[in-house]
Amino acid sequence: MTTDQYDAVIIGAGHNGLVAACYLQRAGLRVLVLERNEHIGGATTSISRYKDYTYSNCSYVYSLFRQEIARTLELYKYGLQVIPYEGGSQIIKNPDGSYDSMGTYWHDDANRREIERFSPRDANAYERLNRDIVRQCRFIKPLLMRTPPDPTSFKPRDIMELLYLGKRFYGMGKEQMLETIRFYTMSVGDYLNEYLENDALKSYLAGGATVGTALGVYSPGTAYILLHHAMGDIDGTVGAWGFARGGMGSVASALNDSFLASGGHVRVNAGVSKFIVQNGKVKGMQLENGETVKAKLVVSGMDVRRTFNAIDSNELPAWVVDRVSNFRFRGSSGKVNIALDGLPGFHGVPEGSPCLSGDIHISQSLEELELAYDDWKAGRWSQKPYLDMLIPSLIDPTMAPEGKHWMSVFVQYCPYKLAAGEWNEERKQAFGEHIVDCISAFSPDFRSKFLHMEIRTPKDIEDETGLSEGNIFQGELTMDQLMFNRPIPGYAQYRSPISGLYMCGSSTHPGGGVMGAPGANAAREVLRDLGRGVQQ
């Protein structure tokens, strides 16, 4: 098989690479996907690390994936099944040492009555908060699947897109417009303080707003990340989250099967070491095994740093090299996957509560979350980290043996660079043990159910998935790295300074999360340059 037979080569079989591959293949191109690892999926994987347990060992919940992509690529036909979960528990340690928990429910009145136990005012204010977030969602959602305009450009296309944005913005009405500016620039802590009084509820909501960024709950520019809780939807239920049956790997495998069924090819164990560029045009790439693959059209699913590091810097304008080197990754989160001999109990969660099948949180207040961030700033993992714990096996019977469970623990903050020195096995184990200690403080029988743990520091995430500095979003989602600034100003439309080289990873608009939008948008831009239409 010669590689000349391909019209386009996609680098990386992560979910965005596969989405781009699917679209291009379906548009009639002959597409090859090169994957460095032995398995596909990038950070959407289901992997067995211990006996009959399967871990979604990187990303672990499903909500943001764009419905239109899943529908077009027929992912449900290729085995993707998404099960929404109900529940969520915020465990509360009372000043007297006793415990309680605040559950979340799909039933509005159950939810209200639960919050009313702590604050009737908040139960009411929470509804207004949700309404206001949904309003913001309505503004942002259509932008996810559009190419950001270049605000400095006078090209009709960019001007039209800017006008479109302006029209949407003005369509909200003056008051809402100004509110939107506030929403995008405030800290999540300040934002929530404007609505709520109860610490537990605030910390339950705020924790998620710092995920994947090196920011704290009091850092300006974190409030808008609350959108993540509302932007996705499952079967029309806005803001619902779910599990992909069989783990997140089933997203990748459905994409893969869809791609293969449309005639595409995937090669694993084929990491790219260098792009071959001549006269500003991409000619192909050199693989890690020394082999050369020719290609006139390359779409890189790698993050912007890895993509540009694989290009001889002489081929790039100096300012581009400069911008890329300043693009911030700063992995700030770790992940621990734990196999359990049975369902652990949690302090304060009543017998029979369905709330354990959702996200479980133990952070007690905004202050505690901010202190966790102070630890990151000082180059150490948080003493009291924000933990996003889920037990997918409560819902999905395919992931653990009967009666047994696996638990996914997302840990914020865990620095990529430790002040104490490089990550090593000893530090990694200490980090893992610390997390188990943190959980055990709220779950008396956790240790006794504990069987196995996979510890993933930002360094491990980088090594395995290739995400620079272990940043789960392929680069922080901060104001200066969003929209037309993502990944770098001037190249935010999925193209690069190298003709024929495109980017489709989460480093591009609209960013990270298992969303698929960057892949779909990049494919659309490629096809536009080729003068072809895209399947809708």
Binding site: T152, I181, D190, G221
Partner: protein, 521 residues
């Protein structure tokens, strides 16, 4: 009883109130300024700290007042005299290795040529951006409405100002405006002390550390101030900042305005949805066609206006404003000239910064998030007496410092905390100026809460309301007040809580006067 009838009553004789009064009086209106304190000036005031030793007890530098405002009001003729202009800035180091900023260049034993070149680039870039923003800062806050062609053109004009930067710089502007100062400085510089010194200009008076987004905005705000002040850079009025206020008062009085001190307003009178005057604490009522409040928004709308006249959503937003200051003031009377390491005696009049690294700024910032005091703070020190001997008896000096970050302390332990923290600060100063403790003849620390008490600013915040994106331009302090008008007709606002923000600029006062004269929104 109604004692007087005026066209306009201005509540508060801070510098913005006085500027507003002067402009209105010059336009032929009868104006009365009522000031609660015994002396006018608000936070631009000179106070006697010990017999014969006077200090600028609030703001201690003049660096952002537009030269055309100074000229318009003939402040020089009314007694404003600058004892020094274009002060150098020296970043102190307890090893004695200081860094000096003078006239857009940086020097210091440990500053590499690369950093010097980077500074030149940085200074140029930032000034370019500040210049682009200046019209925005100097004028009324833009209106986001696009109902009329005028409004549309105004907004397009804003866009065009940015585009005029050129493609590269416009892109860079749109990127850096959303970045935080910590990361931005990391992109330019290597030297940690250099970075920290620059960062201080973005952080003085703010509630945030260098890692907070929005810190670039506050830096550009400061640079715009330097750009508009006719090249005087950091300046010191002779006789302290109070002298500026007196010049403003004289300018106002010369134009016919009346100023009453010791007259605390109890409430703003409203009749038929229109402000009709004020009632003083002593029961005296002053009738007026308009009322302009120089007080901060919380004071104005939560204390002076009866909620019967306001809507709940509006009150909610005013209450939510972030107005808890984090900057304290330290005042010392010294028996002699202190000896700061790495600062020659001749340079004692420079602005001195204690901010060793950005991480240490961040460490000083962290505790205040939890309402705790820092163990080591960062500060800006001014020894005005080095330029102005009228402030002290011979041989003595007065030191004034902005000390960050302190919590707004409303605990019962406030007094003990203040005393303990003063010791901490003096210990810290001793490391930079050995022997200074022994020179201290009188010392005073004003915490944000003390500033609230002394100057009547709710929360003791330098900018009245945090200068951040969420309270910027059309959102400052809240949309309904962004152009100095208020929901109640005839009631205007002119304080630092308005666009463009704090520092002794007078812009808010001038813009408010303009709006009053226009008589509308």
């Amino acid at each position: 009883m109604t004692s007087q009838q005026k066209d306009i009553v201005i509540v508060g004789g801070g510098h913005n109130g006085l500027v507003c009064a002067a402009y209105l009086a010059r336009a032929g209106r009868s104006v009365l300024v009522v000031e609660a304190a015994a002396e006018i000036g608000g936070a631009a005031r000179t106070r006697e700290l010990a017999p014969g030793a006077r200090v600028s007890s609030g703001a201690h530098l003049l660096h952002a007042m537009p030269d055309d405002l100074i000229n318009d009001l003939n402040l020089t003729a009314h007694g404003l005299k600058l004892s020094s202009v274009r002060l150098n800035t020296v970043s102190l180091n307890n090893t004695g290795s200081s860094i000096v900023f003078a006239d857009n260049t940086v020097s210091g034993a440990e500053v590499t040529a690369k950093d010097k070149a980077a500074f030149a680039r940085f200074d140029k870039d930032m000034n370019r951006f500040a210049k682009a923003l200046r019209p925005v800062f100097d004028k009324l806050a833009p209106d986001v409405s696009i109902e009329t062609w005028g409004q549309r053109l105004e907004l397009l004009g804003l866009g065009w100002t940015l585009r005029k930067l050129g493609r590269y710089h416009m892109r860079e502007f749109l990127r850096v405006i959303g970045i935080n100062f910590y990361d931005l400085l990391d992109e330019y510089f290597d030297n940690a002390q250099l970075k920290a010194a620059i960062a201080m200009d973005a952080l003085l008076g703010s509630e945030w550390g260098a890692r907070s987004m929005g810190s670039v905005l506050t830096y550009l705000y400061r640079l715009a101030g330097y750009q508009r002040n006719g090249g005087m850079g950091l300046a010191l009025p002779e006789g302290g900042m109070g002298a500026l206020s007196h010049a403003l008062a004289k300018a106002a009085e010369a134009a016919g305005a009346e100023i009453r001190t010791g007259a605390r307003v109890k409430r703003i009178l409203i009749d038929d949805d229109r402000a009709t005057g004020v009632e003083l604490e002593n029961g005296e009522r002053i009738a007026a066609g308009c009322v302009v409040s120089n007080a901060d928004p919380k004071q104005t709308f939560l204390k002076l206006v009866n909620p019967d006249h306001l809507d709940t959503g509006f009150i909610r937003r005013i209450r939510n404003l972030r107005s808890k200051g984090k900057a304290a003031k330290l005042h010392l009377v010294l028996s002699g000239a202190p000896a700061f390491k790495g600062v020659e005696a001749a340079n004692l009049g420079s602005r001195m910064l204690i901010a060793p690294t950005m991480d240490e700024i961040e460490l000083a910032f962290n505790p205040c998030k939890y309402k705790r005091y820092p163990t080591a703070s960062v500060m800006e020190i001014i020894i005005a007496s080095a330029h102005d001997s009228s402030l002290v008896s011979s041989g003595q000096h007065v030191l004034s410092a902005v000390v960050q970050y302190l919590p707004y302390d409303d605990t019962p332990e406030e007094d003990a905390n203040r005393t303990a923290f003063l010791e901490t600060v003096l210990d810290q100063l001793e490391q930079y100026a050995p022997g200074i403790r022994a020179q201290v003849m009188a010392a005073e620390l004003l915490t944000p809460r003390d500033i609230e008490r002394q100057f009547g600013i709710s929360g003791g915040h330098w900018h009245h309301v945090e200068l951040a994106f969420e309270t910027f331009l059309f959102n400052r302090p809240v949309p309904a007040l962004a152009r100095h008008c208020s929901p109640i007709s005839g009631l205007y606002v002119c304080g630092a809580g308005c666009h463009p923000g704090g520092n002794v600029t007078g812009i808010a006062g001038r813009n408010a006067a303009q709006q009053v004269l226009r008589g509308g929104h």
